[in-house]
């Protein structure tokens, strides 16, 4: 299983990754800027994501919106921001590759002359509505705010969510947007991947044509921060929900670091799907929860693992917490069975194969190449990435779980129905979240 590519770096520092796949007459253009909410400062959160919105509002040489010409050429397109990076992609018919490169290069080189106060305040309103829709007006939607704030100290850049604080969004100014663009949106902080129905030489020539005359900016200094949990931090808040929900979270290794793959498989076998240990106990046998899930959320400079379960009516979060701790402790002591390890390996192989199916979009081949290139400087990492999962052993998984999913150092968050604070897990303190 290989993901073949060529890599070139232009004089201005832009990395160019090319992958040919002639299966369908389409090309994915995928552009990463190595900036996310991790590059924000307290009091100025939500900025990287708001900026992503502004990238779709037109640039100097085509100032009538970003979508229209591309949709007219038959493209699908989108962008997203997370803590560590911002990505933009178009999947275009092969005959419209040049158009996509024209558009992407124009907003990399010439965004600011077209950026007006009117666009800025309109997209601020849109983002505030995105926040209402996906967080404030959604049951349990504010959980990430409470969890991240408890896991990481206030000066750690994972302390806040990518969508940002309402007060910060309301006070951000246009001149901050301009400074942000100068600092982060330039070729030396970007990586472009093309995957699909391309001739490799022609495609490289087109990228040179459109991007080579954009000036390199200053190198961005990597963000460094540390976090540690002093104990079991037990918090709760009230929300418009019918059933109480428990979150148990731990600090864990960063993406691609030692232990990351072990925790991926470990959280899967603890609580993902009907075969998992916690589903079996909480939902299938004891029936004290309506659902349970878990994930190792690995990010560039740190990770966190979480287990989430919703109480069935008549059952308490305390009961659920006890079962979660029992199963985590049992895995930490006894490790996984051979069958669990074997299932984990086959599923990892299948997952990696599924990712090779599509050239573009979120998580397709072009996005994958950029992820390896931006985070590791090594787009060739695909096979070694899969090997990380094949190399997990019963012993390594057991030791990693024992080391990181420690009952004494965690965050335990309860979200309970309004006016029902007694339903929180025992000894929890109220926390403010909005």
């Amino acid at each position: 299983m290989r993901l073949a590519f060529t890599k070139h770096t232009l004089d201005n520092g832009l990395d160019v990754l090319l992958h040919q796949d002639r299966g369908c007459p389409i090309v994915a253009v995928n552009l990463w800027y190595h900036v996310g909410s991790k590059n924000e400062q307290p009091g100025h959160t939500g900025f990287a994501h708001l900026f992503e919105h502004l990238m779709f509002e037109g640039s100097q040489h085509y100032d009538r919106g970003y979508f229209q010409p591309l949709q007219g050429a038959g493209a699908s397109l989108n962008g997203s921001t997370n803590a560590d990076r911002t990505n933009y992609w178009e999947v275009v018919p092969a005959n419209a590759l040049e158009l996509a490169l024209w558009m992407e290069s124009d907003r990399m080189g010439y965004l600011l002359p077209a950026l007006t106060d009117a666009k800025f305040s309109n997209q601020r309103d849109v983002v505030l509505n995105e926040r209402r829709q996906n967080y404030e007006n959604r049951p349990y939607g504010l959980a990430p705010m409470a969890l991240l704030a408890a896991l990481y100290p206030p000066d750690h850049p994972y302390h806040w969510t990518t969508i940002g604080e309402i007060a910060d969004l309301n006070t951000v100014r246009l001149d901050e947007v301009q400074a942000f663009f100068r600092r982060y949106y330039h070729p030396a902080n970007a990586s472009i991947a093309l995957a699909g129905d391309i001739d490799l030489d022609d495609a490289l020539g087109l990228v040179r044509t459109y991007f080579e005359d954009i000036d390199a900016g200053d190198r961005v200094v990597p963000v460094v921060a540390a976090a540690a949990l002093s104990g079991d931090i037990r918090i709760f808040f009230e929300d418009r929900v019918e059933l109480p929900r428990l979150y148990v979270a731990w600090l864990t290794p960063a993406m691609f670091a030692d232990g990351d793959a072990d925790l991926d498989l470990g959280t899967d076998l603890l609580a993902n799907g009907k075969t998992s240990r916690l589903y079996r106990r909480l939902v299938f046998e004891e029936r004290i929860a309506t659902d349970v899930s878990a994930a190792q959320n690995s990010r560039e400079i740190a990770g966190y693992a979480q287990i989430t379960a919703t109480a069935a009516p008549g059952h308490t979060l305390g009961e659920i917490e006890q079962v979660i701790l029992e199963e985590v402790t049992r895995l930490a002591a006894g490790g996984p069975s051979d069958d669990e390890i074997e299932r984990g390996r086959v599923q990892a192989e299948a997952q990696f194969m599924y990712r090779l199916q599509t050239v573009g979009g979120f998580g397709g081949k072009s996005d994958q190449l950029n992820a390896y290139n931006v985070f590791l400087g090594d787009p060739e990492y695909f096979e070694r990435d899969l090997a990380r999962y094949h190399d997990v052993t019963s012993q390594s998984l057991q030791q990693t779980v024992a080391h990181y999913l420690e009952p004494a150092h965690r965050v335990t968050l309860s979200i309970v129905p309004r006016g029902r604070s007694t339903l929180a897990a025992p000894d929890s303190s109220p926390t403010d979240v909005s």
Partner: protein, 460 residues
């Protein structure tokens, strides 16, 4: 002025024109039919050693018997809860051992089970799929657990404004019609259901003559037919339940609200029952919807999001089904903008139909957006399997994909006007708000839609 790019050597005064269109052969579907009536369709797509299997059964939530809303979905949910002596967990362990991505989906007209697997496991995947669909255990103990989980799910849906809006809106526009309830059913209907109801629905609805097995990927037709014949040989047709028929539609109030005190946004649905999938106006309606609310640069989204900033996004759809499906606009807007968003929305719908007909530029853009990127829908095995499923569900011809682009390209502005006039009727639009009644109530009379009918959240 900050300009990062130097004065450019390239011409940025105009956008590059697209080159010649590269040809694309739409996937050819090989079709067979087993002696028990099961259709077996395959498409060879051998680039990656995967196979996407879909088993489509043309019975869905609209086949729920009267008083048993939710039976089809509950039955679908019970299928992977064990087979023979094996428990649900054992079945899922077997799926995990072959790396399967397994999913069950239930819609109005059909249920489908999909399993994408590494192609070396094709035989085990089909054996498991047949155990799940043809030979489910349907045990009493599993039934009571699964039903309980669905009741808990209904409890949780009460907090989700989008789900509340979807369910209440269907009820308003369809009433007791087979499309008038969400697949999950209601507390009342689930409460009186028994495992025997599930067994009898399984026998009458999950039948080979309603079903099509689709396999797309690294496989050959004769190989899949042979494996399917072995796995599905003992699947026999029972007595068929009746096909759903359309009964009378209610007349809903024009303006309705489900109160959600202190909600920061209002979840809106605006629409009415429109048109079935087999309408000859299908392609023109798809073009009309693209322009009205089917793409980012649609009239509705440009107005409510990009001009007003009321929302994160707004869209419209004709939901095509075997019987007449709904036309619906859906959007979540900040509470203070509720009445204005309704006014603008209805204005845009009515505008495209009459006073502000589609322009030549809009028509060209809408058609281009639908046609130029059409090949993208056939990139992966999963994409192709989903496309083939549409043919099986709606009895579409083999050359349907090949004809799509030329047919859409022939749609004219007059066609858009004609189909909007025929199928969208502004006086019949039903508007539903899930939002803060105290905050928005005073703004509503000015809409001229009559007094809002207040719906109790527990009754929708």
């Amino acid at each position: 002025m900050v300009v990062r790019g130097r004065p450019s050597a390239i011409d940025r005064s105009r956008l590059p024109e697209p080159g010649p269109v590269r040809s694309f052969a739409f996937p050819a579907i090989d079709k067979s039919r087993l002696s028990n009536g099961l259709n077996v369709w395959t498409v060879s797509h051998p680039e990656i050693p995967l196979i996407a299997f879909v088993l489509l059964v043309r019975r869905g939530a609209s086949a729920d018997p009267p008083g048993q809303d939710g039976l089809a979905a509950l039955t679908a949910d019970m299928l992977d809860e064990g087979s023979g002596a094996r428990s649900a967990i054992e079945i899922h362990e077997e799926l995990a051992r072959i790396g399967a991505q397994f999913d069950t989906d239930i819609g109005s007209d059909a249920l489908s089970m999909s399993a994408t697997v590494l192609s070396r496991f094709a035989d085990r995947a089909l054996a498991l799929l047949s155990d799940i669909v043809v030979r489910p255990a349907l045990r009493e103990g599993d039934f009571s657990r699964v039903r309980q989980l669905r009741l808990h799910r209904l409890t949780q849906l009460r907090d989700m404004p989008g789900a509340v809006a979807d369910r209440a809106f269907l009820k308003l526009i369809y009433g007791s019609h087979p499309y008038g309830h969400a697949p999950i059913g209601s507390e009342a209907s689930l409460a009186v259901m028994s495992v025997d109801d599930v067994r009898s629905f399984h026998a009458s609805a999950i039948r080979p003559s309603f079903a099509t097995l689709i396999a797309v990927g690294d496989c050959r037709h004769d190989q899949i037919v042979q494996l399917a014949a072995r796995s599905f040989a003992d699947w026999q047709d029972g007595n068929a339940g009746p096909a759903p028929i359309a009964n009378g539609l209610p007349t809903a109030a024009r303006l309705n609200i489900v109160p959600r005190p202190n909600a920061p946004q209002s979840e809106l649905r605006i629409g009415h029952v429109a048109v079935p999938r087999d309408t000859p106006d299908y392609h023109a309606l798809v073009v009309a919807n693209t322009i009205l609310g089917g793409q980012f640069v649609s009239r509705i989204n440009l107005n409510l999001r990009e001009d007003k900033g009321f929302t994160y996004g707004a869209r419209t759809a004709f939901e095509f089904r075997r019987l007449a499906g709904p036309f619906v606009l859906q959007v979540s807007v900040q509470t203070t903008a509720t009445a204005r968003a309704i006014e603008e929305s209805i204005g845009e719908i009515a505008g495209l139909r009459g006073p502000r007909p589609v322009t030549a530029d809009e028509l060209e853009l809408g058609i281009a957006g639908l046609t130029r990127g059409y090949a993208r829908n056939f990139e992966t095995a999963d994409h192709i399997a989903r496309a083939a499923m549409q043919l099986a569900l709606f009895d579409l011809p083999d050359d349907y994909f090949a004809q799509f682009v030329p047919t859409v390209s022939r749609v004219t502005a007059a066609d858009v006007h004609r189909v909007m006039e025929r199928h969208v009727h502004p006086p019949r639009l039903t508007t539903l708000i899930v939002g803060d009644l105290d905050a928005v109530g005073a703004d509503l009379p000015a809409l001229g839609l009559g007094d809002p009918v207040v719906l109790h959240p527990d009754l929708v």
